[in-house]
Symmetry: C2
Subunit: 330 residues, 2 copies
DNA sequence: TATGCTCGTGTAATCCGTTACACGAGAGGG
DNA sequence: CCCTCTCGTGTAACGGATTACACGAGCATA
């Protein structure tokens, strides 16, 4: 593989001049530039970026840390991040943590090892203090999920308002027994969506009934299990509608309803959260709170690059608008 | 940020000794080792991997090139690749090409720029000659899709046999008007699945009817459009079953059937391909050909690392077993 | 003609580890 | 007591680029 030295020799100039041509410095005579370009072409020279990166102390890589890329909700966000990163000349390194804090730590260690310049965290399993420490040393952005109170940039929808909108809508359809598939992790969306649910009930003077809240994760199995529990309740206590913390969980609820011999939406209404592509592919198409996934990704990346350019920039908290998408599951 | 020199000074040894400790060379006295480890701890030293990588001329990165991570079929494969890469100490760089050959070229350029050591291609849009050229210079594995005849390693299921099994199964249910949602790209799965379809029809002496084949891509919209066309046919000509080239397309077909007032599976049977997680979450759960996605990823990675260790290793062609998963859409 | 610019270019230091080679000390054998 | 080995360690070259600094040439100004 040709090196910059080979090009220099071939073109009859010094390595400095070759480097200047590559980096489009104006201080190169047209003549020298032509000879260098010619040599580069002849030798099929491509700069060794390991050398450049070492010299510049940058990797031009951003970490995208998430529990699992198999969750289609993240996939679309990643595309938003990638599109911004590409125009900035950065690469996206995918970091599946499987929700293990230790794997997350290993990946984030790449920052201090200089293999990455910044990171976007989707659902941090790190403790707040670790996060804070880290963000003093490296550009960091939380996307969608975040630790409330941490002085780390973040971008997300207003989860509380979004959940409130979803439940208000169910109330407006006349539902009074509205169940919630929730999660009690340490992330804001867990709390906020729960709070939004209670907000809406309180507004409508519908008493909160703990029997109508089941906890789990954000996946299909959780929805199925919670749904099974809800629909096992005898008719007066059984919910007539379910608000699920994610579309995946909502799909599980729909399946549980069918298994219990209930029709959606006639016997039970279901609302999801996220608006993944699948929400509109299934039958019945899912009513859900749409998160602007692609824009969440883009925005997170934009904030990250701002911090990369100006390390002194203060952390930003950005909220993007959500949207209630009414389909046929309600 | 501390460098190896700082550690050396702090520990009262030379940088060589520090390096030996880090790389677990046996030629270090227990005493020196202890002092070095102590200094590393005190300074919170982490080796700058840019320096190491330059010296070793490796990036410890594998490229995973695919059209779109939003397709859940790929997501699971990526996890298989990642799990193997992690134990090898490699990172996975995600390369969404959006099916643009140019973007694919840019990403693969990272190989010659030393930012990556090898690549796994999911659905190459490069020409065969480019591929061949590339694989002489760098370890390369094609996963799932591949250019037939290219002397580049690959791992996939036997697409032709798989499609044959799917159609045989529909025939065994008594279907005679079996439609196919196909694709006419240059990839093998396009051809092979088509061939398998014809194989099965021929075996059963069912005449091939071009009216029952529609072409598109692998996505939901394709399935919907092709399904709409099929179900617009008047009853004697209308298919009683559809075999779709992917689960996503099958989902589109199911939606089209519903839109046409047809019940699945009573009026029309649908079989997909891939067995993505969603196939079992929808209603009716999809009968499909399961590809061992995770293992496809693992195997591709294993072949890649074999080639990385021994660049002279001959290309491998590996076929993994598929499986007909019968659910309720047939 | 001397002075001071600008311009183009080259030399060499630098980024940070890794490792070939050299060297001195101590052990063991003859 | 000398020779040979092994062991632990250090020095310095090296990987491939970037860039501060220096320098000579050419030109304009005084």
């Amino acid at each position: 593989m040709a090196t910059i030295q080979d090009v220099a020799t071939q073109a009859g100039v010094s390595v400095a001049t070759v480097s200047r041509v590559i980096n489009e410095s104006p201080r190169v005579s047209p003549d020298a530039r032509a000879r260098v370009l010619e040599a580069i072409g002849r030798l099929d020279y491509r700069p060794n970026l390991l050398g450049r990166n070492l010299r510049r102390t940058e990797a031009r890589v951003v970490l995208v840390v998430l529990p699992s890329i198999s969750n289609p909700f993240y996939a679309r966000i990643v595309e938003g991040i990638e599109d911004v990163a590409r125009v900035e000349g950065f690469n996206v390194l995918l970091c599946n943590t499987g929700d293990e804090a230790e794997r997350e730590r290993v990946y984030l260690g790449m920052l201090s090892q200089r293999l990455a310049d910044g990171a976007i965290l989707m659902a941090p399993s790190l403790r707040v203090d670790e996060l804070e420490l880290l963000c003093h040393a490296h550009p960091l952005v939380q996307c969608c999920e975040f630790h409330a109170g941490a002085t780390v940039s973040h971008v997300s929808v207003d989860d509380r308002a979004a959940a409130r909108d979803a439940v208000r809508y169910l109330l407006s359809l006349g539902h009074r027994r509205i169940a919630l598939v929730a999660s009690h992790g340490s992330l804001v969306s867990d709390h906020c969506r729960f709070d939004g649910y209670r907000d809406a009930l309180a507004e409508a003077d519908v008493p909160f009934d703990p029997e109508l809240v089941a906890y789990g994760r954000y996946d299909f199995a959780t929805g199925r299990a919670c749904g099974d529990a809800f629909f096992a309740l005898p008719p007066p206590r059984r919910p007539t509608a379910v608000f699920a913390i994610s579309d995946l969980a909502a799909l599980g609820v729909v399946q549980a309803a069918r298994a219990a011999g209930l029709r959606v939406p006639e016997d039970v209404g279901v609302v999801g959260f996220d608006d993944i592509a699948f929400a509109s592919m299934v039958d019945p198409p899912l009513t859900t709170i749409a998160q602007p996934q692609y824009d969440l990704g883009r925005t997170a990346a934009e904030i990250l690059f701002r911090q990369l350019r100006d390390p002194a920039a203060p952390p930003e908290d950005r909220f993007l608008p959500h949207r209630l998408v009414i389909r046929r599951s309600t």
